[in-house]
Amino acid sequence: MSDYHIAANKLRTTPILTVETESPTVKTFTFKDKECSRAKPGQFLMLWIPGVDEIPLSILSTQEDGRVSVAVKEVGEATQALHSMKAAEIIGIRGPFGNSFTEKHGRILMVGGGTGIAPLLFLAKKVASKTRKLVFVIGAKTRKELLFIDKIEALCSKSSVIATTEDGSYGIRCLATMPLEKMLDEEKFDMVYTCGPEHMLQKVFDLAEKHRIPLEASLERLMRCAIGLCGSCIIGRYRVCRDGPVFTANQLREVKGEFGIAKRDFNGRKIPLE
């Protein structure tokens, strides 16, 4: 491994530059960090909320001037504490960590659920102008939780964006995976990228397997060290922080006993995914 990974592992403290509200439960935090501004789509960082916790977050966007953004959903104590923070308050950053999506330029399908849309939007920005076709399926519980729909519609032609909500408040009333079956029967794709709740990833994986389309999925597990040492994030033989978070269909086949089924608890025990 290159020294870069360890250079990236040094904790840098930096002020929050801006906080934007994306939905009732999601805020985007932007700060300056040189290392992470060089991140590739799919990589993650560890964000330290001083005195509270340190959490893994997918990188949403980077700017040439060194600005980096992450979208954070309020799900527990740590994210609640982060949501209460304002511009100029200090956070700590380690990373970027992990691998990234491989950039393909053929006919691309992206399927994102919840905040899982974030790394896909990052990827879409990089590849949109080079792809032959880009279809983006996004799903959320409600219209209000449907993230970055405007940005995605600006990137892809509007007809290529399929939005789904579980309550029908926007787009089609269904799970994000529902429109896929018909779409995959009718259209050809060279690559599927997906990120979101793992049950959704599993469904997307099954469909991609059925239609023999290569796939990459970004997984989430409990993270501690983020550098492949502590073993907290293991799935099968893989360390999600180091060998992932992006996994190919081949790798997911190897970990079928755990993918979409189980994760490791704080004490290392295998427990069912909720």
Binding site: M1, I6, L11, T13, G228, C230, I234, G236, N267, G268
Partner: protein, 304 residues
């Protein structure tokens, strides 16, 4: 003939490199990846009587020449872990050592016995963890308590018992001698060194536990001195541990008196293949020096 083969307290290792405790080591699959990487033996994460969640993040912080960690001994507890031990014994073709911690001598003994019964080839008593109260280094810094713990464990099991020592004591060689006299079959030297990191901007300790243990290149000279000192005092085999990242580091530990070495932090830099890289380098070194067996260089730097 295998130039690198060693016999460690009755265990046959195809080479003297071992996975240090605390690194990966929750599951058979990750231990397998370490063995495929070339390790001659593996030590699991420290296992206790009850499941333990460990500490909140941050649990690891990088400093100039290493990492400070206070993960807090997360583990599923020995009941849950026995199935992993059984599976590991079937899957792995190298000795499996289960690291054990406890809050009393009875706990150390109970967990060790269960681990051995499930198939562990040896146990390594963690009497040196620097960041959990009432276990680890609080056991290993008292001659009396350490002696009781080692004796109690030796009473209940026949398989080899390793004892992992802390450098954060005033009388390391006395402690090593007591561990040896109490029946330790090998001494792992050393665990992480008490350390801490504070962030200037926020004026806060970075680790959630505030205090932690330092590993990596920063502690290598400390560990070498510890091995060297203990080798002069006791006959019990020593397993060197602390900042080993390449074959030269490994050789230095052997020359100081270690019969085998453990690797942990370097896996973050070089991945599981760090083991085969180190063994290849050691083999080249032995050939170049005209040495037929790695055993011949153990303690070689002590000659006058």
């Amino acid at each position: 003939m295998n130039r690198l083969g060693v016999n460690l307290a009755g265990l046959n290792l195809s080479n003297p490199t071992m996975l240090a405790s605390g690194i990966l080591g929750y599951s058979v699959e990750t231990l397998e990846s370490i063995v495929e990487g070339g390790a001659g033996a593996v030590v699991t994460k420290s296992i206790g009587l009850e499941p333990r969640d460990g500490y909140a993040n941050p649990t690891v912080v990088q400093v100039s020449c290493g990492l400070i960690n206070a993960i807090g001994l997360p583990n599923p507890g020995i009941e849950e872990f026995t199935s992993e031990i059984r599976a590991a014994k079937t899957a792995l073709n190298v000795p499996l050592i289960v690291s054990v911690y406890g809050f009393s001598e009875e706990e150390y003994a109970t967990v060790s016995k269960k681990a051995a019964d499930a198939g562990a080839d040896a146990v390594e008593l963690n009497v040196s963890c620097p960041h959990v109260k009432e276990t680890g280094s609080e056991i290993g810094q008292s001659l009396e308590i350490l002696s009781k713990v080692v004796r109690k464990v030796k009473e209940v099991m026949e398989k080899p018992v390793f004892v992992k020592l802390s450098h954060n004591v005033t009388n390391l060689t006395d402690i090593a001698e007591v561990a040896a006299k109490s029946g330790a079959d090998a001494l792992t030297v050393i665990n992480t060194v008490k350390a801490m990191a504070i962030d200037a901007e926020t004026a806060m300790p970075i680790l959630s536990n505030k205090r932690g243990g330092l590993s990596g290149p920063a502690i290598k000279p400390i560990a070498i001195r510890s091995v060297y000192d203990i080798y002069e005092r006791v006959k019990t085999p020593i397993i060197g541990c602390g900042g080993i990242a390449n074959w030269r580091d490994a050789v230095e530990f052997l020359l100081a008196g270690a019969s085998a070495i453990q690797i942990g932090t370097a896996i973050a830099l070089r991945g599981p293949n760090v083991f085969s890289a180190i063994t290849r380098g050691m083999e080249t070194y032995l050939k170049r020096k005209g040495v037929k067996s790695v055993k011949e260089i153990v303690g070689l730097s002590h000659r006058r």
